[in-house]
C-alpha cells in the first residue's frame, strides 16, 4: 500500500478502534488513535512478516510495548489478515483472545504480552542480540509510548542497545504528548526525546507520525547508521482524527458513549472494518 491508500485506510482503522473501545467498554483511545498510522505503515509491507506463517523463524519481530493502546494493533492485524475481522467483536469480552492488554497466551502470534510499561525495549534488545548470535537478518521493531519513556528501564535498555551496537533494532516513540493523567513534556521537564536518544548513542529521525510519506521514508532509511540502533521520534496527536478527542487527557481512559461513537463515525466518514460483516449464524 502506498501513502495515499494508507491515508484512506486510516479512517476505517480509527473507526475500528473507537468501535472496539465502545463495545468492549475499555478506553485508551488517545494512544490507539495516535499510534494507528505508525502500526498501519509498519504492516503495509515494510515488516517482513506474513499472515500465512506469522511465527516463521525469519520474520521481523514487532514488539507492541504500549499494550494499553492495543486496539490499533488489533485493527491492523485484522485488516492485514493476521486475525479474522470477526474476532474483533470479541475485544475485551469474556475468554477473549483480544484482551484490553495483549496476552501472548491468548494470541500466540504476538511476540510478547504487554501491559506493564517499560519492558518492550529491554526485551527487544535481548531479541536483537539473540538474532545476531543466530546470524539472522530479521529486524526488531518496538513501538513505545512517550509516557512509557518515564520508566528508567527504557533507558537501561537504550544504553545496552548502543553498547552492543544493535543496528537491527528500531524503536519508534509515539510522541503524542499526553499520558495517563498528565502532559508528557511537563512530566519530563520539556527535555527532548531526540536529544535523549542521541545522547544515548542512537541514530535519530524525527517525523510527523501521521504523515504516511514521512513514516514510510523513515522506515525505508532504516538502519540510519551502521553499528547504531535507530529511533524514530514520531510526533503525533493523542486522539487523532476526532475533533472532540484530540489532545485531551480525558480520552486516555474515557470509554466512548453511543453518542460519542456516532459523532466520531460521522466525522471520520468511515465504518469500522468489522461491523458490516454478516452476523455469525448459530452463536
Amino acid at each position: 500500500m502506498n501513502a495515499f491508500q494508507l491515508q484512506q485506510k486510516a479512517r476505517e482503522l480509527r473507526a475500528t478502534c473507537i468501535q472496539l473501545a465502545h463495545d468492549g467498554r475499555e478506553g485508551h483511545l488517545n494512544g490507539a488513535l495516535s499510534s494507528v498510522d505508525l502500526v498501519s505503515a509498519l504492516y503495509a509491507g515494510w515488516l517482513r512478516i506474513s499472515p500465512d506463517d506469522p511465527t516463521e523463524e525469519g520474520r521481523d519481530r514487532f514488539v507492541f510495548s504500549k499494550g494499553h493502546a492495543c486496539t490499533s494493533l488489533y485493527a491492523v492485524l485484522a485488516d492485514r489478515g493476521f486475525i479474522s475481522k470477526e474476532l474483533l467483536k470479541q475485544y475485551a469480552r469474556d475468554k477473549t483472545p483480544l484482551p484490553s492488554h495483549p496476552c501472548i497466551h491468548a494470541l500466540p502470534i504476538l511476540e510478547c504480552s504487554s501491559g506493564s510499561l517499560g519492558h518492550g525495549l529491554g526485551v527487544a534488545t535481548g531479541r536483537s542480540y539473540g538474532l545476531r548470535l543466530k546470524k539472522s537478518s530479521a529486524r526488531v521493531v518496538v513501538l513505545l509510548g512517550d509516557g512509557e519513556c518515564n520508566e528508567g528501564s527504557t533507558w537501561e535498555a537504550a544504553m545496552f542497545a548502543t553498547a552492543n551496537k544493535l543496528d537491527n533494532l528500531l524503536a519508534i516513540v509515539d510522541y503524542n504528548r499526553i499520558q495517563s493523567v498528565g502532559r508528557t513534556d511537563q512530566l519530563n521537564g520539556f527535555a527532548s526525546y531526540e536529544d535523549k536518544f542521541r545522547a544515548f548513542g542512537w541514530a535519530v529521525q524525527p517525523i510527523d507520525g501521521h504523515d504516511y510519506t514521512q513514516i514510510l521514508e523513515a522506515l525505508d532509511a532504516f538502519p540510519l547508521a551502521r553499528g547504531k540502533p535507530t529511533a524514530i521520534i514520531a510526533k503525533t496527536t493523542a486522539g487523532r482524527g476526532v475533533s472532540f478527542m484530540e489532545d485531551q487527557v480525558l480520552w486516555h481512559y474515557r470509554v466512548p458513549s453511543d453518542d460519542d461513537l456516532a459523532r466520531a463515525l460521522v466525522e471520520l466518514e468511515a465504518q469500522p472494518i468489522h461491523v458490516a460483516l454478516p452476523q455469525e449464524v448459530g452463536t
Binding site: G118, G122, T125, G126, R127, G130, L133
Partner: protein, 304 residues
Amino acid sequence: MRKAFSDTLVKVAEENPRLAFITGDLGFQLFDEFHARFGARYINAGVAEAQLINAAAGLAAEGFHSVAYSIASFVTARPFEQIRYCVAYPNLPVTIVGAGRGLTYANAGVSHHALDDVALMTAIPNMTVVIPGEPGEIEQLFPQVTALPGPAYFTVGRFGEPRYEAEAPAVLGMARLLRKGDGIAIVTMGEMAGEVLNACKILAADKITPVVYQMHTVKPLDTATLNALARQVKTILVVEEHLPMGGLWSAMTNWSASLTKPVQLIRLGPPDEFALGNLTRDGFRRRMGFDATAIAATCRRLSQ
C-alpha cells in the same frame, strides 16, 4: 562455590550452544574462561538489573537458555517485575543466578543481605527455586536447572565452602538425604546444611543422630519425602537462613497444615527484622540462635 559455578557454567555451555550468559557487571575474573571460549555468548548488561532480566528474556524468546547473574539481593528484589512479567509469565527458559544469598555478605550491610530472596522467587508461578549447599551440589544441580523448559532461581555461595558427604546424589526436585538417623529430623536449605552437619558432629558425642535433609529445591517442594519423614519422626527441626515469611519454614508449614496426622515443626533462623549490627555471618548466626551450637542444643532438648 563460585569456582564450581563458573566451571560448571563452562561445561554446560560446551554442551549447549544456545546457552547465553549475562551478568549485571559482577564476577570479576570469574567468567574470563567463559568469555574467552564463547565470545558473544558472554554479555555484561552493566549495573542495570531491569535490563539484565529483560535482555535475558529477549534472548530466551529467541531460543537461548539465558543465565542472568548478579548478587542475590540485587537480582531478586530490584527486577522483581521483570522476572514476573517478562520471564515467568511467558514461561521462558531463564536461570536467574543469585550470588551470596542469605547473610553471605553479612557485614556489607542490609543492602547486600538476601534474606527474602526465596520468598520473592517462590511467590512467582512457573518458577523453580534451587538453593545449593556446597560446590558438589552446584556441579550436580546447575546442569539440571539449565535443562528446564522454564525459569528458575539458583543461588551460588562465596568461595571455599567445604564439600560434604551425602547419602544420595542431588536430584532436582528431591530432598537430598545427607545423614541417616532416628528420633528427630532436621530439614535445612542451602549453605545452612554445613552448619547443621557441624551440629551433628557435636551431637555424636551424645549419641544423638538426627535424620538430615537438604531441601535444595524449595519449589516445587518434595512433599513425598516429607510425608515419609513425618511417619518416621515426631519432630522436624527446620533450619534456614531466611526471614520467617516465605522461606523454607513457610513452605514446610504450608505442607504440614494439610497433614492428617500432624508433625511438630520447630524453627531456627533469623527473626522478622533487618539484620543490623554489622556482624560477621557467624556472628549473626550466633546472635540469632541458628549456629551449630544452637542447633545442637535444640536437638539435645528435643531428645530428652
